[in-house]
Symmetry: C2
Amino acid sequence: MTGKSPGWVVTVKVSPPSLNDNTADADRLINELKPVLKTDYIDIDLSLLKNLPWRLRKFSYQARCVCFNDCGRWKLVGVKSVNDSAICAGIAIDLGTTRVVLRLINLETGEVIDESAFDNPQIAIGPDLLERIHFADNEAGLYKINRLIVDGFNEHISGLCKKSGVHIQDVYLLAVSGNTSMTHLFLGLAPNHIIREPYIPVVNTPNTVLAKDLGIQINDNARIFIFPNVGSYFGGDLISGIIYSGLHQQDEISILVDVGTNAEVVLGNKDWLVACAGAAGPALEGGVSKIGMNAKPGVIDRIMIDPEDGTFDLHTIDELPPKGICGSGMIDMMAQLFLSGMVDIRGKFVASKCGDRLKESDGSRRIVLVPSDDSATGRELSISQVDIDSLMRSKAAMYTILETIARYVGITFDDLSTFYIAGTFGSFINPRSAITIGMIPDLSEETYHSLGNSSLGGAAMILTSREALDEVEGIRDRITYLELNVNQEFMNRFSAAKFLPHTDPSLFPSVKIE
Amino acid sequence: MTGKSPGWVVTVKVSPPSLNDNTADADRLINELKPVLKTDYIDIDLSLLKNLPWRLRKFSYQARCVCFNDCGRWKLVGVKSVNDSAICAGIAIDLGTTRVVLRLINLETGEVIDESAFDNPQIAIGPDLLERIHFADNEAGLYKINRLIVDGFNEHISGLCKKSGVHIQDVYLLAVSGNTSMTHLFLGLAPNHIIREPYIPVVNTPNTVLAKDLGIQINDNARIFIFPNVGSYFGGDLISGIIYSGLHQQDEISILVDVGTNAEVVLGNKDWLVACAGAAGPALEGGVSKIGMNAKPGVIDRIMIDPEDGTFDLHTIDELPPKGICGSGMIDMMAQLFLSGMVDIRGKFVASKCGDRLKESDGSRRIVLVPSDDSATGRELSISQVDIDSLMRSKAAMYTILETIARYVGITFDDLSTFYIAGTFGSFINPRSAITIGMIPDLSEETYHSLGNSSLGGAAMILTSREALDEVEGIRDRITYLELNVNQEFMNRFSAAKFLPHTDPSLFPSVKIE
């Protein structure tokens, strides 16, 4: 038991049995754990009971006990000798639609041992959730898609453990954070009602399940904590993000935004939380334009345009020859095109400013970022007016969602003490560029705080802090979910936001065009 | 939900999901159950979750829910349509060393549907526990002996259900009451420390386990409640007996005695409970003499001896030709031999009174109950002096144990309001005969109350009453277990009790010899 917060491994010494105290082995151990864990009940699985007498005697009645709290009910998960140098491990998992990230953690010290990531194998069924959910509409499909992720976990957990010298039998806890659909597919639960009105998940609070019940090959008694969801469109990854941000503990009001295909937003403080989610469009994730792609080496992630001579200064990840552009690159580009006058406030190309870069074919205009000779693909990298129109809608949707939730609560953006940007994608966004295009409010840059992979971060906290786990349920229950009604008022605000930065420039005083 | 006490089946109506209330199916159902069960948490197994959406919709959001309380933590065990005429069933089980009794119960009405019984298949390994425990000393032996009882359960549960027209998938709960060793062998837990100093079970409180984890083929989510034990020699069958007797709820002091190879005794009232157990010897169960056997057709269970002419009036079960004698028959016989003067106060044959019935061979005397011509076996049925000496030791041990526990608590037998005799065997004992030989105290016959199969009775109560289940743990925790020290004082009392009825006849004023 080390670290700031009491963790899940408790070392206890049990008095050996005698004629004067013939309490059973299991109850003897449990009786020592009860005061430490401050509980009246601790469950032990039958399979753990089976070799407990042998272990206690071999360990001279002293043991490191891995315990876990399942909604107030403690479970004894593992019993190890104090002399065994093997660590007791847990794995925090960000179960993304596209990418899955594993973080191996020492449950006793809280230390991160290693990390690995892999593409969600369900991509083979379909890159987006809708295709996967349709595929899972029948039992065979659900089974297959469930096996894909379970097998993926088993392969990569095993690989991560091997690399780190951790035996998979020493992995006792998993904390899995994912959106509602991904969580359902992982649990083998039919997600079909999630996408059909009135959009009902099978379960909001799956709590803790036995790893072996899900086919996850780690310790036989290992538990998997699954983050709860608020509904079909507000998943456990967001709850995990809230935990990670600490927003729910603060006196002042903050906002947390996960920018992606869906914009998921939580606004609140230690007393209240309001959330909403809405389609923001794939443009923000770099998935809309023909050259859009996720951030990886060779992808354009930053752009500067000289307002004087219109030269483009492109930056690619790892500075490799360019092969595409990611979402944050698109936002940067859009801001720079606007600041250099190459697009007008409606987001339309201004031919006089674009110069040679502007091309036209089949009645459609495009601006060339990289000529074919300079690209890694041998093909021209360009952004069309259609791509830009799509980005305009996405950024307008995002701003309108933020405006809507703020109005619902009755605050202005100036009331926000912190604007958390969650998610891996979000961490690459240049807030200055996002403000410039009117995607996010015109707050001082210090207000913006990028969390990185907050879904993974929150899951890791579950494995290292009992308090974090205790907070999860309260957060979920405290969230008021605001159903976004796309009514006339919303549409009016959306239309007003479809300008750079906005039809009302007074909302963005810091954005000044030469 | 019917019956006097709220049972385990709760019918609830769930509001169908809508855009205004997108709570998940599982949480929607749980939220309805929470106030009914007065709890904050109800666990649902993954396998039940999997078809819950389908069920709720098919059942028009109205369901009979089988719920069970595992030490304060509620579990949803089954969900059935209100229009389904199939009953929700449970089975109470008395898991005896020799005999296993099953009682099929309607969980909604509490009604007994049917009963069946079978010989414990582990008898094939050994008739007594010690042999079985030694057999289970290695993994293969434990596995085999565990499978014997599990297979026996599966066969007989299936048979009982078929006979009653109950589908085994509609059996949701089992309550199993057995001694500590039998319980361990059923759970597949190594019993080897039970018989070795300091006599430590693996577990005192196994609580509730999943039926499928034990290989019991009933409903996939069915739970098995296992009565807790106080130690290696005070098993769950006794706790079940206490529940059934109601001793633990009474103002006045009562005693409960399970008479068998071990004499297990509980003394107490609603405020305190003291228990002890000690070897009483197989004589009391009819297992010691050559002709001793368990009660079954053709076995002598009652004897009258005419004090005038010494004629024997034997009664056999079902009045079939005699083939042996059971424990209650032995006690009857002993009392009658004493009253007729055929044995003296030391339990030795009085040749002058026995007449022709007394035979002698190889230096050993015996009294003939049935000559070979009249017996069902074609062999003489007789009781030797050795058999009688053994019975004398057994009855003396029983009385000494009762005396010891009463002295420990500081009461006299006259303080007892009820003397409960538990167990199937006990129910056949004629208290008058047992008093005559000084096996039990000289109380008025109304004080004696035979409970029949109290182990089964208590298990059945668990399936029909939430209160009964709630009481189990409190009873177990309240019991002070008195370790019988076979010291000089005990031996002195034992020696004094090895007379008919006792060296101190004033203890048995009602026993008068002509």
